[in-house]
Symmetry: C2
Subunit: 544 residues, 2 copies
């Protein structure tokens, strides 16, 4: 461009100063300068942010000493621990890529993703070692193993370095990385075939953290640096929705939960004074229905929770509200870093009544800053913003995956027409709030019309005695498809009660009569995917 | 980098979608999608954000029709009006550069800056037309004039287009601009010579808006989308500290004050329910000391105000506090877009007492997200964070000017060693709060030691009866320099009373005995610079 004709950078160093790069190092260093004593906590380990920064620098030197270089892919196999938190910063800040391995995949899929991602160094928690050792020969592509145990040294038959030894050296001198450097990658399951790899740059993670932090400060989340985060989205899953980077940006204390076990989660909420979390509905359901939950009522009261991964059922939100917990919906995909929308109040709701505010806050919400989101028909025309007309969500934003790794064909489909196609069906209302009504792949078309399964599930969830609920479509000669509802009871309930409940909602105009499920199937528990979402593929198999 | 070897963009359109550009268009469009009905107000004009977006598109088409093209520099000569607000968006979004002309400069300096900036189109408010018409021949470099009046058409002897005619056409189809495109430029006065030009890119303005919005949401500012902004920093001065872009990002209503006249400002605060402002101390001083201010007490109560441009004197902050107004310090330069620090509470102050919180909030504050700020000695070593040791503030951040326009020599000096040198002397305390104690050029060195004039002024400001105060150094045979204090009275006060007040602060250890000014000069008003700051050069002349 003509514009910079007078600007002649005299050196690289100077260029990097002018063209300040958005990278994880600048995010962390600026955070340390604002809030040096904010804590990061895991079990009995407790570091201030400046101590944490120092550990990250020592760890990076240790990783360098065992061979990790810029451009290498470093895989982690772990629960949500301090080790993981350290690696979230050390690996990208070195210019390497952090591959967060989904430990819930079957072994052959774990192996596939690690090979596909070109992992060269792997960090493994002791409890996952037996699995790795068993398939040792298949991992010949790995150049170095690093193992650890919460108790100190980990025992293994692998030729491996001990994580704790990596921290004993001097502090690494981190390079000034271009912001387009790849920082993280992970795999996401589709409805068919092997998982697809997505990756994100330093710039994307920084911009995502800033916009999510900005949105999170709005009512009713109203997050501040006084809040205490304990995120219950696995760190192997879409980098815990980016929350480790958000918390550091905001200056909040960050508590790492380890492996998710409800009694320990409740105990941590009490011990650390947790005020904020994020999770899929299933985890909230597990917490609220835990037999010991009453003892912790005073610590849960006042908590604010972002719910994503699946739509937030109204019944669950109402139950949380009774306990003084504010839940707020959110929406995004693995492909989108993930956050696109959050159910915080926008300026449109300034004078809205409580019911409208509640409805909006438990929807998917409005786009966070810098997200352009449209709900469109097949011809890419925006559908009316009437809260009724269904279309596909397409987006543009600074933090969308550029591609499916080594998969140009599916990349082309994802990005057709210059917009990322989410494959999610939604409505948008007059206030700008998005409600996801279905995954395209889970949708039910009955008599030529879509039944929005997520709205129907939300309606069923409000019936007393109903715990979890999932609706799937089954083939039908007359209508094409018809809905079947799976229900886990949380109290006294039967088919008649639910049908009466839905009939009342039909009268109120909240749902359509022809959405009424043909069958109700009561089950003890729902089949789940590796990320704790209800597995609708499994449910469909159960009734075929 | 190796990293993107698998990524082959198939078209420019697709590249722009992947590599989402941070530009004013994406800032505005994403804001409209979140808060379409947020208002922008000037006099009787009142637009929703989506109406405003439409006007911006029509205006851009009008500007295109009169000849404005990408890369052109478009100058504006106006007070803070709706026209200015429209141009803040339309001009950069077209790919042209908005030159915000400092109307307070003497005519020959205005002419110098416009010529130096390569202005090709100029938009002028009617009341500035006589000046332009008088020097018409000197403006031969201007390709097109656009004039307007609040009442409609403006009369002029220039061959000019009417602004209102520009809005009658269709909506402009804005290009997808690279984020490094220059968006704004303006001039800043130094201690010697002609003003220096600085400029900012789209990317810089977006990142600045996001980080400032993020910091502004912390206590005690606690800004939300429910707030009503009326910024009293002229739009020709460092683009009103970036606040028009911040307000749009946050979703707040934005009130344009026109020309600054205290009675009208108070009336607007009442009429529009203003809750937030930003200004230099002088303006706050003028508002609080206005004879009619008591009538507006109920509307001022609860307001939050960011004070920058000069240090916030403790006496002024205390007076505001008595009226229920929260003032918060901030710090930045024309060269830094401007915001570097804000006096919001960080996590360190969680358990601090009220006095510590007050002291921190009226300091310059802590760096906003993504700013790296150091206070260093001559060898670029950080000074101890003890709240006492004085050093120079140097910074790195994503929104610092790349250069002084057409001035490589001063650019080299500004950016020496890869850090932007502010020329401001400061301390940093244990909580990470910065206190600016002097401009290097205003500093007083007495007996080989610096007297921090801004701290001394703040101490004097606390004395009852003292209104504005400024301390300057005068040559002294014995000590090198000695301080002289200029005081504007706001009540009954004399030299003896101030000396007794300062003696008490010496006993309390707040100031040093040898800082005591040698002379006190009582004046009716302070000489001011074009941006309402006290003009210390003029004061020094008065006692030479």
């Amino acid at each position: 461009m003509l514009i910079i004709k007078h600007f002649k950078p005299s050196s690289l160093k100077r260029r990097m100063a002018y063209d300040y790069q958005l990278n994880i190092k600048s995010l962390l260093d600026s955070a340390v300068s604002r809030n040096p004593n904010t804590e990061v906590v895991y079990k009995d380990e407790r570091y201030t942010l400046s101590q944490f920064r120092e550990r990250v620098a020592r760890l990076a030197q240790g990783l360098h000493d065992v061979g990790v270089r810029q451009g290498d892919v470093v895989a982690v196999i772990d629960w949500d621990t301090m080790r993981y938190m350290e690696l979230y910063f050390a690996v990208p800040m070195m210019g390497a890529t952090l591959h967060t391995v989904n430990v819930r995949y079957p072994p052959e899929v774990v192996l596939y993703t690690m090979k596909h991602a070109d992992d060269s160094y792997v960090i493994v928690r002791d409890e996952f070692l037996p699995l790795i050792e068993k398939f040792k020969d298949a991992f010949s592509f790995v150049k170095g193993w690093i193992v650890y145990s919460d108790d100190g040294k980990a025992r293994t038959s692998l030729e491996a370095h001990q994580y704790s030894d990596l921290l004993s050296g001097p502090k690494y001198d981190f390079p000034e990385l271009p912001e387009e450097t790849r920082a993280t990658m992970f795999y996401t399951s589709g409805t068919t075939g092997m998982p697809k790899g997505v990756w994100f740059t330093h710039r994307q993670l920084v911009l995502h953290a800033q916009s999510v932090a900005l949105a999170g400060r709005s009512d009713p989340l109203a997050l501040t640096q006084r809040d205490v985060y304990m995120i219950l989205v696995p760190m192997f899953h879409v980098h815990a929705w980016g929350m480790p980077y958000v918390a550091v940006t905001v200056g909040s204390k960050y508590v790492l939960p380890g492996k998710y076990e409800v009694p320990r989660i409740l105990e941590l909420i009490k011990r650390e004074g947790v005020t904020y979390s994020a999770m899929v509905p299933t985890i909230l359901y597990m917490i609220l229905n835990h037999p010991g939950v009453k003892e912790y009522a005073q610590y849960l009261k006042g908590m604010r929770i972002t719910i994503g991964g699946m739509a937030l059922p109204r019944g669950l939100a109402a139950k949380a509200k009774e306990m003084g917990i504010t839940t707020v919906g959110g929406y995004g995909l693995s492909e989108t870093c993930p956050v696109l929308t959050i159910g915080v109040y926008n300026a449109e709701l300034k004078d809205a009544d409580e019911e409208t505010k509640f409805r909006c806050s438990i929807s998917a919400g409005t786009p966070v800053p810098l997200v352009e989101l449209r709900v469109v028909d097949e011809n890419m025309n925006d559908v009316p913003h009437d809260g009724k007309t269904v279309g596909e969500v397409v987006v543009r934003a600074p933090w969308l995956t550029k591609e499916y790794y080594k998969d140009p064909e599916r990349t082309e489909r994802l990005w057709r027409g210059g917009w990322l196609h989410t494959g999610d069906l939604a409505t948008m209302d007059q206030y700008g709030y998005v409600t996801i009504v279905d995954r395209e792949s889970d949708s039910i078309k009955s008599g030529g019309e879509f039944i929005p399964t997520l709205l129907l599930e939300s309606a069923i969830s409000e019936c007393p005695g109903v715990g979890e609920v999932a609706v799937v479509g089954v083939p039908d000669q007359k209508w094409g498809q018809r809905p079947v509802a799976f229900v886990v009871k949380s109290g006294e309930v039967n088919e008649r009660v639910i049908r009466d409940h839905l009939a009342r909602l039909v009268e109120q105009g909240r749902i359509q009569k022809w959405w009424m499920p043909d069958r109700f199937v009561f089950v003890d528990s729902m089949p789940k995917t590796s990320t704790h979402k209800v597995d609708k593929k499994e449910l469909r198999k159960m009734i075929q």
